[in-house]
Amino acid sequence: MHLPKFDYERLTSAEEAGRLLGRYGGDARLVAGGTDLFPRMKYGLLRPRVILDMKGLSVKSPEVNGDGNLRLGAMTSLAGLARDPLVREKAPLLAEAALGVGSVQVRERATLGGNICLETRCLYYNQSHTFQFTQACFKRGGDLCYLVPGGKKCLAVFCADTVPALISLGASIGIGGPGGVRRILLEKFYTGDAVQPLAISPTELVTEVIIPARPRIGGEAFAKFSVRGGVEFAAVTAAVALRMESDGATCSAAVITVGAVSPAPRRARKAEEALQGKRLSPELFGESARIAAGEISPLPHHGFSAPYLRECLEVQIRRALEAVAKRVRS
């Protein structure tokens, strides 16, 4: 399988990136690891005129700044994140989620910024269109959906593994552009529109990720469900972070983020509320997981039906909560 023709520019600084993005606009594509972009280009889903290679940009090592926040460069590879002692200490949830992505070989190239900016996916969209599905679907600029015939909009889902983990950790991101760097909560970065899933303009790029300091007493857990368990996008992911009272048994605040079942990651807010102020117990976890499965309506995707995913969601959240409780106790 060959890539279509394009011109290539190797970026050496964020300023240069901004300048070239301004010049080429929509004709250019930034590439970091390329593990998401190149397969889509090989399938003929997009043909950028210019590839702007970010591998020449400096990779900032993870560091903790004065206020205890963990700062990560967007160009850090997922393998690098999972290996880094500081990340494993300050944000073990992120290291765990990063290890779930693709395979060893994919994680060596794929970057944190790239995972945050992953395209939404669909069984029909993510394959070669050379001889089938010739009429363009919503995602390819047309006006029909192959997944749900008669559907009114694109139903592709957002499958990045690290993102639910980052949202549960309260992460924000830095976005560089012509007007300097703006910082937003990662949760606000996703539009919910499967065709344009990211709130970013073509002249901007994600430069860094900031994760607030961990609570003194608390715990996190990540659960990913897929059929094979390797080199696979998730059917469902759940990332849970609990902050505990000083007694170590009562939950003072909870964040539950669910991925892969909608065009944007989703918070299970009612299930979070159900945990707040309560003593941890298996019954509470079961109830909270049931509430989450009630408030989030999964989209069917990649051959999984919506009712099946709803059940998966409940099981994964319950297991993640049980894993957090075990970590809090130890």
Binding site: M1, H2, L3, P4, K5, F6, D7, Y8, R10, G34, T35, F38, P39, K42, Y43, I51, D53, K55, A79, G102, S103, V104, Q105, V106, E108, R109, G229, G230, V231
Partner: protein
Amino acid sequence: MKRLIELTVNGELHELAVEPQATLLDVLREQLGLTGTKEGCGTGECGSCTVLLAGRPVLSCLVLAMECQGQEVTTIEGLSVDGRLTPVQQAFQDRGAVQCGFCTPGMVLAATALLTENPRPSEAEIKKGLEGNLCRCTGYNKIIEAVKLAAESFNQK
């Protein structure tokens, strides 16, 4: 438009004129004739095209040759020295961990990378380390046995 890059492949420095859209896999196989590196899916799912880039396992079908400017690449052809197989290669042979052989170069390189980073992997760690390499003959048991054997001979040295 073609551009010149420098690439060290298996210890030998090459100056190559490459198109921007040429992948590392294209250049290894078609320009350097190193056909030990295989193309399976071409989209990053099977691991047949695994090579070591600066010592790390990557999928050569998803890396542009131009991205590798000035870097060091090790392919399956570069492992043995004067015909002497590495412990991983020898273990694959001894355990019969080869059926049709198409996945073998990728498997051997992924296993080599795994043992370099973790010389005493558990079975679960071996499976995780080889998760990106598919064997369509499904000869996984022998492959996992071979990696265990290779780990033993690695550690005896």
